[in-house]
């Protein structure tokens, strides 16, 4: 199998100087033709940045990205546009269909923009693609007239318009209910199995891993071939120790309880709060203060 996508020693930094943060750390990653790769990761793990760099929407700070044999990091914006138009497909979480276009025109647009098809050819191909995703009868509808699931299927048809080498999907089921998600997921699986369409999907939806031919994991900008189970628990214990040792947090909590007790006393004196209720609350505050002092 040949590599459709290859990331070599890719780093991505945001910010400058002391505030520079590495969002992707030395990523080396390949997607072979016909694979359906799912990149799993929680929010802030760097998966969207990985997708944006892999799909040529953004450039890495260091390293190279290859689509087929082409090093896309060396291409200018217009060359990238041409490459995206002919070799890549995109499906986004919020569908991102063009509001002013019907379903048919949304699918037609990439073909016309690529310059490969005349209007009639593009329209007839778009109709076939809509049939493929089960929406031929909705061809004249605007995105606002379609459900979320239908919009996402139109987006998939649009992504397939120019027979891309790889389709990038960013949380494709993120905005869908269970039934629509199932339809979209099964469509993607079918396209991969029957068409041999290559997919790279970034998500935190576990269900998508069921259809994947390969799953990779991303945490804190590092890519793992296996789920990094120890990462969160070790982070948790580190964080707990830090909080327990923090005088500032303890002091702040004590101050909060003291001011609460003061306000209760005032409310009781002014007759706003019944005495028995205030007393119960004061008991609870005292217990909390004692608990805090014990951990000192």
């Amino acid at each position: 199998m040949s590599s459709v996508l290859r990331l070599v020693n890719v780093w991505k930094f945001y910010g400058y100087g002391d505030k520079r943060v590495a969002v992707l750390k030395n990523i080396n990653f390949k997607v072979e033709a016909g694979e359906l790769v799912v990149v799993m990761g929680p929010s802030g793990s760097g998966k969207s940045t990985l997708l944006s760099i892999a799909s040529t929407l953004d450039k890495p700070s260091m390293g190279s990205v290859y689509i087929g044999d082409v090093n896309v990091t060396e291409l200018n914006e217009e060359e990238l546009t041409a490459l995206r138009s002919r070799k890549l497909g995109f499906v986004f979480q919020t569908y991102n269909l063009i509001r002013n276009f019907t379903a048919l025109e949304n699918v037609t647009a990439p073909m016309i923009l690529s310059g490969l098809y005349a209007v009639d050819e593009a329209r007839s191909r778009a109709l076939e693609l809509l049939s493929l995703v089960g929406l031929r009868e909705h061809y004249s509808k605007f995105p606002s007239q379609l459900s979320g699931g239908q919009q996402q299927r139109v987006a998939i048809a649009r992504a397939l318009a120019n027979d891309p080498e790889i389709v990038f999907m960013d949380e494709p089921t993120g905005n869908l209910d269970t039934r629509s998600s199932a339809k979209v997921i099964s469509l993607v699986k079918w396209l991969n199995e029957v068409y041999g369409q290559t997919f790279l999907i970034v998500t935190h939806n576990l269900e998508l891993t069921e259809i994947a031919t390969r799953v990779v994991y991303i945490r804190d900008g590092i890519l793992y071939e296996n789920p990094p189970r120890d990462l969160l628990s070790s982070k948790l214990s580190e964080e707990l120790t830090r909080i327990r040792k923090s005088d500032i947090m303890k002091k702040a909590q004590l101050n909060l309880l003291k001011t609460r007790a003061q306000s209760l006393r005032r409310l009781m004196i002014e007759g706003i709060l019944p005495r028995n209720e205030a007393e119960k609350e004061v008991v609870r505050i005292k217990q909390a203060i004692r608990r805090l002092q014990k951990t000192a």
């Binding site: 986004f92 979480q93 919020t94 063009i98 002013n100 016309i112 923009l113």
Partner: protein, 385 residues
């Protein structure tokens, strides 16, 4: 190269955009239409006024040259015969111009010899006055209509400097206004015998101006030279100079009206710019999507420039139509105010100018927002994902 397919796609995008944002689009088109209407109407009125003023001068300034004095009425009448004998002069017509009042209304009074009346006017009702007749007047038909004056009525005329109002019998009603309004903004025009006009200002034997009709075989320059030799200190005015002076006045008015046009055009510029800017802002994410799925910067430029062009064309067409209507309303107003009687000169070039300048202004005012649109990065599509 911009393909037909791309134009088809862009047109779909733009027409839907206009349809989905009817109100904003309508405001943009109206803003452009207002600017174009101001431009077209003022151009039409200005051209019509120039033509009308030119026609008036041709009619009133019956000669090619005129001799005039330093004061109100200080050219001795006896020189008329001398002038007539000068080489190249076919006829010399003495005239007295007096500002005064008729029936208490400000009037422009012309004193003309009966035999010269044919050069000045044609009566619509009644007759011209004859030689030897005194205290007779021919009244402008507009004034006669407004004041309900008929042939046979008696009106009182008084010069601005004189203290006595003399009674005059109306013998004729003529369209003097049409012939004379180009010379003055007064709304009332009357023609009386030369002797009566001299009496009104107590300048018996003197005239304001001697109009010279040159012999057809003579060159006007040569006739002017001859008159200068005869009267070295005389002020000699050529018809073209009067026309030039009036054209100059109209040009000044044109300049002032241009300021109004500029305001109109500025409204159009800001209107279009704002609409395209809001369109770009509203579609920022979609532009990023288009860029991600293969639209080049140029394609985005084509899309939004097409929108600006459609606004410009619609505004230009509507504005041209409104401009013609506005010009007609202005013409009626000017006519009813008694300033100038004119017919509208609908020059296709003016309409074409309005239409093309509308498109040009729309495109120019869209450059900044469109450039902004073309710079939207495809990465924007992932924002808020």
């Amino acid at each position: 190269m911009i393909t037909m397919s791309l134009l088809w796609l862009s047109l779909r995008f733009v027409l839907r955009d206009i349809r989905f944002r009817k109100f904003i689009s309508m405001l943009a088109v109206l803003a452009i239409a207002c600017g174009v209407a101001a431009l077209v109407s003022l151009r039409i009125v200005s051209a019509s006024a120039r033509a009308a003023a030119g026609g008036v001068i041709e009619q009133v300034f019956v000669g090619e040259l005129a001799i005039y004095g330093e004061g109100l009425c200080d050219i001795p009448e006896f020189i008329v015969h001398e002038v007539e004998d000068a080489p190249g002069v076919d006829r010399a017509i003495p005239m007295v111009f007096v500002t005064g009042y008729m029936e208490g209304v400000m009037a422009f009074i012309f004193g003309v010899k009966p035999e010269d009346l044919d050069y000045i006017l044609e009566c619509k009702v009644g007759r011209k006055f004859a030689d030897g007749e005194e205290n007779v007047v021919i009244v402008d038909e507009l004034f006669a209509e407004r004041r309900n004056i008929s042939v046979g009525d008696t009106v009182f005329l008084k010069s601005q400097i004189g203290s006595i109002a003399y009674p005059f019998k109306v013998v004729g009603i003529a369209n003097i206004g049409m012939k004379l309004q180009g010379l003055s903004a007064f709304s009332t025009y009357v023609v009386i015998p030369l002797k009566d006009a001299q009496k009104l200002i107590d300048k018996d034997g003197f005239v304001t101006m001697v109009m010279i009709i040159a012999d057809k075989e003579w060159d006007t320059d040569q006739v002017e030279e001859n008159l200068k030799t005869l009267y070295p200190n005389a002020n000699i005015l050529r018809r073209e100079e009067v026309l030039g002076a009036i054209t100059q006045i109209i040009s000044v008015i044109d300049g002032l009206l241009s300021a109004v046009t500029i305001i109109g055009v500025a409204v159009a510029v800001f209107g279009t710019s704002n609409t395209i800017m809001s369109s770009v802002r509203e579609h920022a994410r979609e532009i990023a999507v288009l860029r991600a799925i293969g639209a080049k910067s140029r394609d985005v430029v084509v899309m939004f420039m097409l929108e600006a062009t459609i606004f410009g064309a619609a505004g230009g067409a509507l504005g041209s139509l409104l401009g013609v209507v506005l010009a007609e309303l202005l013409r009626r107003y000017i006519e009813s105010s008694g300033i100038l009687t004119m017919s509208l000169k609908l020059d296709p070039l003016v309409i074409a100018l309005g239409f093309t300048s509308s498109i040009a202004v729309s495109i120019l005012s869209s450059i900044y927002p469109v450039l902004k649109a073309s710079r939207v990065k495809p990465l924007e599509v992932l924002k808020n994902e």
